[in-house]
Amino acid sequence: MLERIHNAQGLIDSACRKLGRQINIMEVCGTHTVAIFRNGIRSILPKTLKLLSGPGCPVCVTDQSYIDIVLQLADREDCLIATYGDMIRVPGEKGSLETRSAKANVKVVLSTEDALQLAKDNPGKTVVFVAVGFETTTPATAVVVKEAAEQAVENFYILAGHKLVVPAMCALVSEKNHNIDAFLCPGHVSAIIGYGAFAEVVDAFSRPCVVAGFEPVQIVEGLAEICRQLADGKAQLKSVYKAVVTETGNVSAQKAIAECFEPADGYWRGLGKIPKSTLRLKDKYSRFDAFKRFGLIETPSEDTTGCRCGEVLCGLIDPQQCGLFETKCTARTPIGPCMVSSEGACAAWYKYGRDKKT
């Protein structure tokens, strides 16, 4: 493994020397962000190669208005909230789900099946599943919606907040002041949508897109491939994660998504409204739609004062440039979602990357 790392490092070094300027590569996926920090990858890269952590952490990109809706539902006596663990610490105006969990109406689940089971076990309550995540988690939500329909589970609802990766990447490089030279594309998402899905980013915006797995050697080799393309003045679509990711992806998972969901315009933290970037339930399944059940509407909302998560997500600033970072916003007292989520850029900087402070 070390030999492959050293070879890739050599390629990165020579490409960076040839380029003779700073290059910015965005790792889109939160799992990549964590793997990069956990393995100390930044510390072995040349100073002219900057890694930007992108909008690939599901908790981080979820708009504040969605979070506020979840908190609002958690305050209702008739509701049980089923959520993935990461979401419980995201603060709203009046505390988080974690501080509400004393009331025992917030349950952390590891799978959508657990959420459906919760509904079956609690027929007297309305169970709302906080359905967030990218194409990796959406198929599991789709499957459980179909199951709930087949089994006529009356008290199960989903608050659809699923998002699509490619529209967000296009939105980022459409911005005038963006500074992204290339993308390290997410391995998990690509396994579902296929690496072919990133062709749009390469073709329309001339940005290299390379899919990599989460082993350090794959990440470094992915970065080497990107550097090679940039040094050669090319923008190509490549996968260095061939064992798992195919060009067309997981067709049956894509079908499951298409059966239940359709793309809709949606709000992202930091990126605002992006056309056709979120998924809403199709009419056929609208009776499971928590937005409709409770008459809720997602509206754009202001981020917490001083919190610069939005700019962090767009790669415009490093977490340390935010005034709240390490002062008011810490792992213990997170203010922005990028500090809450274990995959958030701020949490990763705080945990692994910051200066030696206690």
Partner: protein, 340 residues
């Protein structure tokens, strides 16, 4: 309101990380403090007449009650034995209290009691006093067990943060994260749970042998809640020295690593129940390693790093397998599974 922004206890307050530290510092110590408690050791060091005694207590609230490699009964014996063992004591006797929920099945209670008996026998300690209470259904989750233990400090043994010096080596007696990942996987019904097994074991036979046969041992602690990361950060903070560990030298069972990767957990933060970290002088480290590897509970023992001078603030740093470096922080207190 505390600095966590809550006026209530959170689960993370019991996680062994930053919030546990805050609970102790802000709420418990100001009201109960005395010289012995202030040391915040795994056990209290007492001198009674001419005897040096170690005294400790721990409560066990594990869910599920039965897991691969052990159950709440075995844990209640081994955990308290280990708190005495890492303080340099030979355990002598335990006290045990059980709080049992109305409706709890006798068959399960019998199983737990059998493993308490077996654990006591294996660790050469007797349960010499105890108590039982029952509470209404819903007032407790099946069964909670508290054990307290007393041990005699081995002659000539003097362990403490103040004995640790730059250049000392860090030794661990085997793989990390096994207990925590077993519990999490079984609790969450993850598919590879059958391949995971808790490391729950009483360490006194190994630690006593180590202390009797080798000098140069400065300090020991069992990295339970908060895992290796919490223990090493506590050492750095208490000594004002930094710690360097090498990822490649830390023993980790590949299944534990895979389970942790899947959930987005850092194995360094995951609980152990049959491990100790020993800070050992560089002269003594080879003989300590040999003694460990010769014992059934230390077959995979390894030297994982050393104590270093602190350039600014004391910290724990990890040299990664690929040649990178990163900081190892005190864990927050509750690991949350990631979304994807």
């Amino acid at each position: 309101m505390t600095t966590t922004g809550t006026d209530r206890i959170l689960l993370a307050h019991g996680g062994g990380g930053q919030l546990t530290e805050e609970l102790l510092r802000d709420h418990i110590l100001p009201r109960l403090n005395n010289d012995v408690l202030a040391e915040l050791g795994d056990s209290a060091n007492l001198t009674v007449g001419s005897k040096s005694l170690c005294f400790t207590t721990d409560s066990y609230v594990v869910k599920p009650l039965f897991f691969n490699g052990g159950d709440i009964g075995k844990l209640a014996v081994c955990g308290t034995v280990n708190d005495l063992a890492v303080a340099g004591a030979k355990p002598v006797a335990l006290a045990m209290s059980m709080i049992i929920e109305e409706g709890f099945e006798f068959a399960q209670l019998e199983k737990i009691l059998a493993s308490i008996g077996e654990g006591a026998r294996q660790n050469d300690v007797a349960i010499v006093t105890g108590d039982t209470k029952t509470v209404e259904a819903g007032s407790a989750d099946k069964i909670f067990i508290n054990t307290a233990g007393i041990g005699v400090r081995l002659g000539g043994v003097d362990l403490g943060f103040d004995k640790i010096a730059v250049g000392d080596k860090i030794l661990i007696n085997g793989t990390i994260g096994d207990h925590g990942m077993t519990i999490i996987s079984q609790r969450e019904d993850i598919k590879f749970q059958s391949q995971l097994s808790s490391d729950c074991a009483g360490l006194a036979s190994l630690t006593c042998r180590l202390l009797q046969e080798s000098g140069g041992i400065r300090f020991m602690r069992d990295p339970t809640r908060g895992g290796l990361a919490a223990t090493l950060n506590e050492i750095a903070k208490a000594t004002g020295l930094s710690i360097e560990i090498r990822e490649a030298d830390i023993p980790i069972n590949p299944v534990v690593q895979a389970a942790a990767d899947m959930l987005g957990f850092d194995v360094l933060n995951i609980a152990n129940e049959g491990k100790f970290v020993a800070i050992v002088s560089s002269e003594a480290v080879d003989s300590c390693l040999e003694i460990c590897r010769d014992h059934p509970l230390g077959k995979e023992a390894n030297v994982i790093g050393q104590v270093t001078e602190s350039t600014d603030t004391p910290s724990v740093e990890l040299a990664t397998k690929i040649g990178g470096r990163r900081i190892v922080q005190m864990p927050y207190g509750r690991e949350l599974p990631r979304i994807c």
